[in-house]
């Protein structure tokens, strides 16, 4: 379960955020945008060239690159 990160989640899959790794500006930005531990998010799109990805979070959609998404550890939700 530990190894699963947001960048490896297929479209349509809902996941629960377990942790965000790091303590830099990117992490505080993601926090501010409401991506916190315990949130349920759904991957809703991947750009044609494979990056970035689009997720549904709270009541809106957020785009982020896979590099950032790889720092978001998640677990699958039915």
């Amino acid at each position: 379960m530990n190894a699963l990160s947001l960048d490896k989640i297929p479209i349509g899959q809902r996941v629960c955020v377990d942790a965000i790794q790091g303590d830099d500006a990117i992490v505080s930005r993601l926090f501010e945008m409401g991506l916190l531990e315990g949130e349920i998010v759904e991957v809703i799109g991947i750009a044609p060239l494979g990056d970035p990805i689009q997720i549904r979070l709270r009541d809106y959609r957020l785009c982020l690159r896979k590099q950032e998404a790889s720092r978001v550890l998640v677990s699958l939700v039915a």
Partner: protein, 734 residues
């Protein structure tokens, strides 16, 4: 405003991006708006005013933001204005927070920060209709009660709820200040309170920021005010908090979102199953790997095609107007330096700028529609991967592409890029894209040297190559800049994808009008000044070696020529020869005049510099003269190679005289060989010969060093590029 109770109420408008903030501002402030600038930073605010019930409101629109944590001097300016600590603006009486009702949780993050400031707040809940479509129900009364501030539901694009909002703003001034919500843990608040006692009445809000953000910007401000001991106390407080298990990273977000969950638990009702919305259906196609990409290419094609085709009639009209005005001036005023300054300096100079106005208006109308509808965010999403290769993000794509029409609107379009380094890198490389002003130069050279006697595909391929040069070099330079001068935090792309909506005509018109006005006003003043200087350098000295005046001779010859052309025996061979002879004499005089002008002498002086590029002094001088605006070279080449003034890139006599031009030192040797022609084109492709662009860079970066840097690096790049082209070309072609 005669009533004695009338007063001015200052309102600060804040909110997240994509909440309809500018739409609300335009709806409230109407037509009378002006832009506020602040020394040393690049942010600008919009200000407007309106009357309601005998009250005069002054409203200031601050840049959209997700959080009040200041990360740059720019963001600090906005925070200072809200806190009433700005030297430039008076403190606001009311803060108007606009929030997207369909995205309440995240919008309440910024709202909760604003509530702590201690200034009366009014919350405008926009896009209630969008929320309804998504099945979300917001209980405004309940929300107002929980937050302790008035909450007004509005639909800014349909002007709904604005009267209620204005009334709420007027009442809010007299209302009691909201008591700040208890958001942070007690331990944290205790540290804030004890730190605050050591200060001169600083707001708890700023102390919290200082503790949580821990950035140099805020620390240095507090260090200046309260000394190093205070900062040490701050660090100690951070350590105590960390030892108690509340790590500071994420503390604010966790506390605020926990509070938000509490607030929304009884006033936000979500449906059991999220309905499929209009936006969801559109995005099935628009962000689809295949259809989305095709649609994107089609949209870009339409944008650029229309910039070229729709603008042409308008540009021709402006050009004709310029000619007519210049001709009228010539009939009204006696010939002399003043008339020449007016015609060749001012009318030509200003006219040469205004001619780009139609392209700018069209491009900005497209940008406004694409942005307001939500498509721009999709384009950035689609293109991000490509742009990431050169250290930029998807947000840089549209500005770069726009620069193929003209770098000026392209640079203005970089305002959508929040990251300062990304924005700066985009601004600095945008002028490398081959703009429409380079096209006449390419056309002239290709038609003169690469058409006759060459395969049919040579002209098209050469032109394509010139455009490709910019498209390849710009990302390379961006990559180099991001790795050196603009090295910074890892480039990121964390972007909200807004819902689609119909663009508001009012917002689109506003954007177009602002862009047009700014272009005319700011870039126009610089170009006018440079054109006058260039005119003077080409005009003086005007005395010929025999003591006569060149300008008098030119006017005299022009008059004689006109007389000949109007004589009745129009078709006779004899007359034709006479006209040709007169024309030659006129061109000879004009050529002599330009040669011994100050600019002509400068041309001779730079000959050793341009010789390694395969150029003679005349090419050097024409290039020098075209630094304010590159398309000037077409006319200048005509003047110096003795063809006359009225040439354009289609003129075959200009092609002929360029082909036959020889070195003054070696009359048997042709100047223009194919390597020379290519080296001229490469130089023009890479050089920043555009005063308007440099003026806009100055304006957008708020500093002279960036336009100077752009000018220097592009000129160096152009020189090296032309040098390599000439020598490799000579070696290849023998």
């Amino acid at each position: 405003m005669t009533s004695t109770t009338a007063r001015t109420i200052r309102v600060a408008l804040v909110g997240n991006p994509n909440t309809g903030k500018s739409t609300l501002f335009n709806a409230l402030a109407g037509l009378w708006q002006h832009v506020g600038n602040y020394p040393g930073v690049t942010i600008e605010t919009k200000k407007g005013s309106f009357e309601f019930n005998g009250n005069h409101f002054e409203i200031i629109d601050l840049p959209g933001t997700y959080s009040l944590a200041p990360r740059s001097p720019d963001e600090m300016v906005a925070v200072e204005i809200i806190l009433g600590q700005s030297d430039e603006e008076e403190p606001p009486d009311v803060i108007l927070v606009i929030a997207d009702a369909s995205n309440l949780e995240r919008n309440l993050y910024l709202t909760s920060q604003i509530l702590e400031i201690g200034v009366p707040v009014v919350l405008a809940l926009n896009m209630m209709d969008v929320a309804e479509q998504q099945g979300l129900r917001v209980d405004c009364d309940q929300l107002a009660q929980t937050l302790g501030v008035p909450v007004v539901p509005i639909q800014a694009n349909k002007q709904k709820g604005l009267e209620t909002l204005k009334a709420a703003l007027a009442d809010a001034v007299h209302a009691t200040r909201p008591s700040p919500p208890a958001i942070f843990p007690e331990l944290f608040e205790a540290e804030v309170a004890s730190l605050q006692q050591a200060t001169n009445g600083e707001r708890p809000f700023m102390i919290r920021r200082l503790l949580v953000d821990g950035n140099d910007l805020e620390e240095s401000r507090f260090r200046q005010r309260y000394g190093e001991d205070f900062i040490r106390a701050v660090h100690a407080a951070r350590e105590r908090l960390a030892n108690n298990g509340s790590t500071l990273i994420g503390l604010e977000a966790r506390s605020r979102y926990a509070w938000i969950r509490q607030v929304t638990s009884n006033c936000l009702h979500r449906p059991e199953v999220r309905p499929v919305t209009w936006t969801d259906r559109c995005d099935q196609i628009i962000t689809h790997p295949l259809w989305g990409t095709l649609l994107f290419l089609a949209v870009m094609f339409v944008v650029f095609q229309s910039i070229f085709t729709w603008a042409t009639p308008l540009m021709d009209l402006i050009d004709a107007g310029k000619e007519a005005l210049s001709g009228w001036v010539a009939t009204q005023l006696p010939p002399g330096p003043l008339t020449s300054l007016l015609r060749d300096g001012i009318i030509e100079g200003v006219g040469g700028v205004i001619i780009f106005l139609p392209q700018i208006l069209i491009l900005f109308a497209f940008i406004a529609v694409l942005e307001d509808s939500g498509y721009m965010a999709r384009a950035a999403f689609l293109m991000d991967r490509l742009m990431a290769r050169c250290g930029l993000s998807g947000k840089s794509f549209i500005p770069m592409l726009s620069s193929i029409a003209c770098a000026v609107p392209g640079i203005l379009a970089t305002r959508v890029i929040e990251n300062r380094r990304d924005r700066l890198a985009t601004i600095l490389v945008a002028p490398l894209m081959s703009c429409s002003a380079r096209l006449p130069v390419y056309n002239l050279i290709i038609a003169a040297f690469l058409t006759q006697g060459h395969a049919w595909w040579v002209p098209g391929l050469t032109l394509f190559g010139m455009y490709l040069l910019g498209i390849i070099v710009a990302p390379m330079v961006a990559w180099a800049l991001k790795g050196t001068l603009l090295r910074g935090e890892t480039p990121t792309f964390i972007m909200e994808m807004p819902t689609y909506k119909w663009p508001s005509p009012r917002t689109v018109l506003r954007r177009v009008q602002d862009a047009g006005w700014e272009f005319l006003h700011r870039a126009g003043s610089i170009i006018l000044a440079t054109m006058i200087i260039i005119w003077a350098l080409l005009y003086f000295p005007r005395t010929d070696p025999k003591g006569g005046y060149y300008d008098v001779r030119v006017v005299q010859l022009e008059a004689e020529l006109a007389e000949l052309a109007e004589s009745e025996t129009k078709d006779s061979e004899e007359l034709k020869n006479k006209i040709d002879a007169k024309q030659n004499e006129l061109n000879q005089v004009r050529g002599d005049w330009k040669r011994q002008s100050i600019l002509g002498r400068m041309g001779h002086a730079v000959e050793p510099i341009v010789e390694p590029l395969g150029w003679d002094w005349r090419l050097g001088m024409a290039t020098l003269a075209s630094f304010p605006a590159r398309e000037v070279i077409v006319g200048t080449l005509g003047i110096i190679y003795n063809v006359g003034d009225d040439v354009d890139e289609e003129s075959s006599s200009l092609h002929e005289s360029l082909r036959s031009a020889t070195w003054e030192k070696a009359p048997q040797k042709k100047i223009f060989t194919i390597p020379v022609a290519l080296s001229v084109m490469v130089f023009f492709a890479l050089c920043c010969q555009c005063a308007a662009t440099l003026a806009v860079i100055k304006r957008e970066t708020n500093s002279w060093s960036w336009p100077v840097f752009t000018f220097v690096y592009m000129t160096a790049l152009a020189y090296v590029g032309a040098f390599v082209t000439y020598h490799v070309g000579t070696w290849l072609l023998g």
